[in-house]
């Protein structure tokens, strides 16, 4: 909402304040002023000029030589390029030395040999936006529609001596979508009076009802319809004060009747509509629901197809307006219109909202009806418009209006106690202070022993319960005056849940390991996911996606991490390791009807070198075992009880020979491996490694409590063995046999070498293990160890054909 300060001052005395003061006060009490524009900013030396003569420039077809009276003894010569300049016009002249918005400075100039002393201005040159400039002046200079005095300052007549406050209204304050509403708000904040002019109607003896009847077939959505009839008017350009008021409010002037309906819309917040009575097509107004498929061409020359949800104004047969949204083209007020029907109605917010939404059509009118107009202003606004039309277009108002009226105009009554206000706010207001606040708001008050019975004017549709009154009291009392306290309720222990702590631990571990945390979008495409997941189950899809790129919820974190690697690679960053912790969404339903299962996944992607120290020549590329080391470390960090197994597996999108599935106590909890070269190619990536863990499942395993174990007091003994086995024997199998036969003396076993190649039979490999024997009770003897160790070696040979390497 754009508020002309000049206009506002017609209702409230603001003589002692600046627009900036008022803006600050409004903002601090709940109506945010986004910007304060002074229309005169950057303009100097602008006067009214009278074009005495206007001839073609001798050297240029498109230029005119004008002798302009600027109130001095001699006229000045101005070269003007506008085609609409003409003799006898009163125009706005920027004199030599003048400044115009945008920093333009007017200098004496010579144009094609002719001296030009100033500039005849267009409205755009004076800072008006093109969309508010009347069509008549939009292609050329402006000329005053009335007799002026040459040489007078032109700022005031053009309304440039004004400041506009740009309000950013919250949805509840639709009362401030009107000048009068803003006036009430400003007056309440300042504790001043509001003066709203009473419409003065001089009606003729002729009755409006002789010309028109009103029938409403949908009274629920249209509880009030008032039709004024004005005859014998003359359509013309509006007077300057009306045009400048509209332009300041961001509305383009059209003609006097349309301008008045717009002016009253801005003044009262009540949308009105004027029909050309002679082209209305009948003598009855019938308000009804549209038939499904019924069509109407609206004022913007667009054909709209309607449904039974939409309310239309008809002439008994055809729709002539889309109720509360926009008029129809057939009965539009035009230059030759003489008799009009002026509609002032109340349309329900829901019906207008529905029509506006369905048809994608928002107007100044629909915006106000959607929020609910003041039931007590509908008829008054109609009268106000009728009286202005009579004043400015010379018409005759017939006795009326013709009305259909089932509108509830009762004021709401809300009760509240002083104690409630103070206990919610933490303030110590007195009954007098609260009374005064409600009084300033022009609410009716009946106070008894700290209990207020408040009668709320209908313009404040947003107030209906206690809390609404608390808010009014608070914002007028001033939020700054509310004290600063801490809750005096018993203190509570705060903290994280076990799961939240585990998530933080996992993050800390991965950071420590050198990975960068990524955050990606949850919305993705089914195509991207298809590289990793079969499209067997239906995905969770957005009903109306903004783009195909973001049409479905992800079921895996990997594709977006690959996008990230790709993004970095394209910027010549080749060594990247990222991880992400995020939600994935699963559903078992073909068509989703219930909330999908949400799980927290933890994924990582590694590309290029894992470690590098360039000048020492150290280059360690990321590989499967780097990846596995991270996952193993993470599992240790999460302190998960249960048997952890990595099982060679084939997973869509990953290298079939370099992929493992992770199992905890037999439950699959993740996968890790090299990205399948074909998949890597799709993302233009080099050798890349990824892991993805189902963190929700991992966290569901209980954590093992940490207990101190005494440090051994006796020395242990190490035995290293190199075993030659068939190539397909897994390290895990050998280790299991060693552990099974090492008995209580074996305290640890670890792989320290893998060898394949020369010096070995084909199809064989050598795996070396380091075994540590330890007895917690006493010093081990060589014999004890040898006895156990021999058993281990025997078992290895018997079970897996492992022989000690010679």
């Amino acid at each position: 909402m754009l508020v002309s300060y000049k206009w506002l001052k017609e209702y409230v005395n603001l003589d002692d304040l600046t627009p900036a003061d008022v803006a600050e006060k409004l903002t601090r009490s709940g109506v945010e002023v986004d910007a304060v524009h002074s229309l005169s900013e950057g303009i100097t030396n602008l006067v009214v000029g009278k074009v005495m003569t206007c001839e073609k420039h001798p050297q240029a077809d498109k230029l005119n030589l004008c002798q302009v009276d600027v109130g001095e003894s001699d006229p000045v010569q101005i070269v003007c390029g506008a085609s609409n300049v003409g003799e006898g016009q009163f125009v706005a002249v920027a004199r030599v030395g003048a400044r115009l918005p945008g920093g333009m400075k007017i200098k004496r100039a010579k144009l094609r040999g002719e001296v030009s002393e100033g500039m005849i201005c267009s409205l755009q040159e004076l800072g008006f936006e093109g969309k508010v400039v009347p069509k008549k002046y939009s292609e050329g200079i402006f000329n005053f529609p009335q007799e002026m005095i040459a040489g007078e300052d032109a700022m005031a007549p053009l309304g440039l001596d004004d400041t506009v406050l740009e309000l950013d209204l919250t949805p509840n304050r639709s009362d401030c979508l009107s000048m009068i509403g803003v006036a009430y708000e400003v007056a309440a904040i300042l504790g001043r009076e509001v003066n709203v002019p009473e419409p003065a109607i001089v009606a003729s003896k002729e009755k409006a009802s002789d010309h028109i009847s009103v029938k409403v077939e949908a009274s629920g959505d249209n509880p009030y319809y008032g039709a004024n009839v004005i005859k014998g008017l003359q359509i013309s350009e509006s007077p300057l004060w009306l045009q400048t008021a509209l332009m300041a409010a961001g509305v383009r002037p059209v003609n006097n009747v349309v301008d008045i309906t717009n002016y009253v819309l801005l003044e009262y917040g009540q949308p009105l509509h004027a029909f050309d009575l002679d082209r209305f097509g009948s003598e009855e107004v019938v308000v009804r629901r549209a038939a499904d498929g019924e069509k109407i061409v609206t004022l913007d020359d667009t054909e709209r197809t309607l449904s039974g949800d939409h309310l239309v104004i008809t002439n008994g047969n055809d729709p002539v307006a889309l109720a509360g949204v926009m008029g129809g083209a057939t009965s539009e007020v035009e230059n030759g219109s003489v008799n009009i029907l002026l509609e002032a109605a109340y349309f329900s917010p829901a019906s207008v909202r529905k029509a506006s939404r369905d048809l994608g059509l928002r107007s100044d009118s629909s915006v106000r009806f959607e929020k609910g107009v003041d039931p007590n202003s509908v008829a008054e606004a109609g009268a106000r418009a009728a009286s202005l039309i009579q004043q400015l277009s010379g018409g005759e108002i017939l006795e009326g209006p013709v009305e259909f009226d089932e509108l509830n105009k009762n004021k709401k009554e809300v009760t509240i106690t002083l104690n409630k206000i103070n206990s919610v706010l933490g303030t110590h207001m007195t009954a007098e202070e609260v009374s005064q606040i409600f009084d300033q708001l022009q609410f009716g008050i009946d106070e008894k022993d700290g209990e207020f019975s408040v009668t709320v004017p209908t313009r404040r549709q947003d107030i209906s319960i206690e809390a609404d009154l608390v808010e009014e009291a608070a914002r007028l009392y001033g939020y700054d005056n509310i004290p600063v306290t801490l809750p005096n309720t018993p203190s509570t222990p705060g903290g994280l849940t076990a799961e939240q702590l585990k998530k933080r631990k996992a993050r800390r571990f991965l950071e420590g390991a050198g990975m960068l945390e990524a955050v990606n979008y949850s919305l993705t495409t089914a195509e991207k996911e298809a590289y990793f997941k079969e499209e067997s189950k239906s995905r969770v899809k957005v009903a109306l996606p903004m783009s195909e790129e973001r049409s479905a919820l992800r079921t895996t974190l990997i594709p977006h991490l690959l996008d990230d690697l790709s993004y970095n690679k394209n910027r010549n960053i080749y060594n990247v390791s990222l991880y992400e912790m995020g939600t994935v969404f699963h559903t078992e339903e073909e068509t989703v009807t219930v909330q999908p299962e949400e799980k927290t996944f933890l994924a990582g992607a590694l590309m290029g070198l894992w470690q590098e120290h360039s000048w020492q020549g150290e280059k360690k590329p990321a590989d499967f075992f780097v990846l596995k080391g991270i996952v193993e470390g993470l599992l240790k960090e999460l302190n998960i009880t249960g048997e952890i197994r990595f099982v060679q597996s084939e997973t869509r999108g990953l290298h079939p020979g370099r992929t493992a599935s992770l199992y905890i106590d037999g439950t699959e909890a993740g996968v890790l491996g090299q990205l399948h070269p074909a998949t890597a190619k799709e993302w233009s990536l080099p050798e890349t490694y990824v892991f993805e863990l189902d963190l929700s499942t991992l966290m569901s395993f209980p954590a093992e409590a940490v207990r101190y174990e005494p440090i051994p007091r006796y020395p242990g003994m190490d035995r290293d063995i190199a075993l030659v086995v068939e190539e397909d024997i897994k390290a895990e199998e050998l280790e299991k046999v060693i552990v099974a036969h090492g008995g209580s003396l074996l305290s640890s076993v670890s792989v320290f070498d893998l060898y394949q190649g020369e010096n070995l039979e084909p199809g064989k490999k050598s795996l070396a293990f380091s075994l540590r024997y330890q007895n917690r009770e006493k010093t081990l003897t060589e014999e004890e160890v040898t006895e156990v160790h021999t058993k281990v070696l025997q078992a290895l040979e018997e079970k897996l054909g492992a022989k000690l390497r010679a």
């Binding site: 919610v424 706010l425 914002r475 390991a513 903004m546």
Partner: protein
Amino acid sequence: MLDRLQELHDEAMKKVAEAEDLNDLKEVRVAYLGKKGPITEVMKGMGKLSAEERPKVGQKANEVRESVKSYIEEKEKAFEEAAMLEKLKKESIDVTLPGRPVSKGSRHPLTSVVETIEDVFIGMGFNVAEGPEVETDYYNFESLNLPKHHPARDMQDTFFITSDLLLRTQTSPVQTRTMEKHEGQGPVKIVCPGKVYRRDEDDATHSHQFMQIEGLVVDEGIRMSDLKGIFATFVKQYFGEERDIRLRPSFFPFTEPSAELDISCAMCGGKGCRTCKQTGWIEVLGAGMVHPNVLKMGGFDPDQYSGFAFGMGVERFAMLKYGIDDIRHFYTNDKRFLNQFTRV
């Protein structure tokens, strides 16, 4: 014999003096002080001496031995030190060459902001609550006093999945879910971080996905002045002691009275600059007293309980804190961006 000893002494001392390395010294030691050396030889002949001479010669022999020995040791020490110096000199390196970097990852700045804020509120007795990202219309809107066709729904453009399921547009549904779990019994003190989604075209200041932290306190006797107090504490801990706060009236369907919280501008200290658009204040979050309808729908009696709620944009906090100018940086995962937060 005394002369012989003196002679041997002088000879040995000369050889020690002439020795060029540890080997030479070893030879001198063996030659003169060894069991087969000349001094020992001289000592063997002591038996032939008279009782008077014997102690004198013995003493002299010991003096000679000690003198030679200590001279040898002194020179040995000097040679060892020189050798060590030589060795260390050879081992010298260029200390200005770069060290081997310890690879350190980084926390995403959004995570970092979330965890810091969580910790501040945990310190004030809050718990952290979470909820689903796919929500029902009821939890996302209706239970928050936003019935269907409420004009305030215009403020949020929603990704619907079905007519009833949607991507949550705010973390506020966690409020109702948490209140329901409390079954009408206070106190509730939570912060709820999470991702939210709105139908916005992505640009420098808009993102269709972003993060919020919602907070809720419900108990008997909670006042709007408490909201101010909790925020003053939070802002001072998070943004610094010198930050002031102010509340401005605003509107949210789920709170009443509602407020925007501003903090004094860090760039200009409140004097007015470009960052704060000359106002001296920066808007950081929305808050208010929980609307009685919301309390009711969460199972709390609004006549007995009151509370306040607040919501803040994590990206906005990160942008303010680190001076980031484009919201899209948070979601492109450029290493050059992420690497800047290893120090956070």
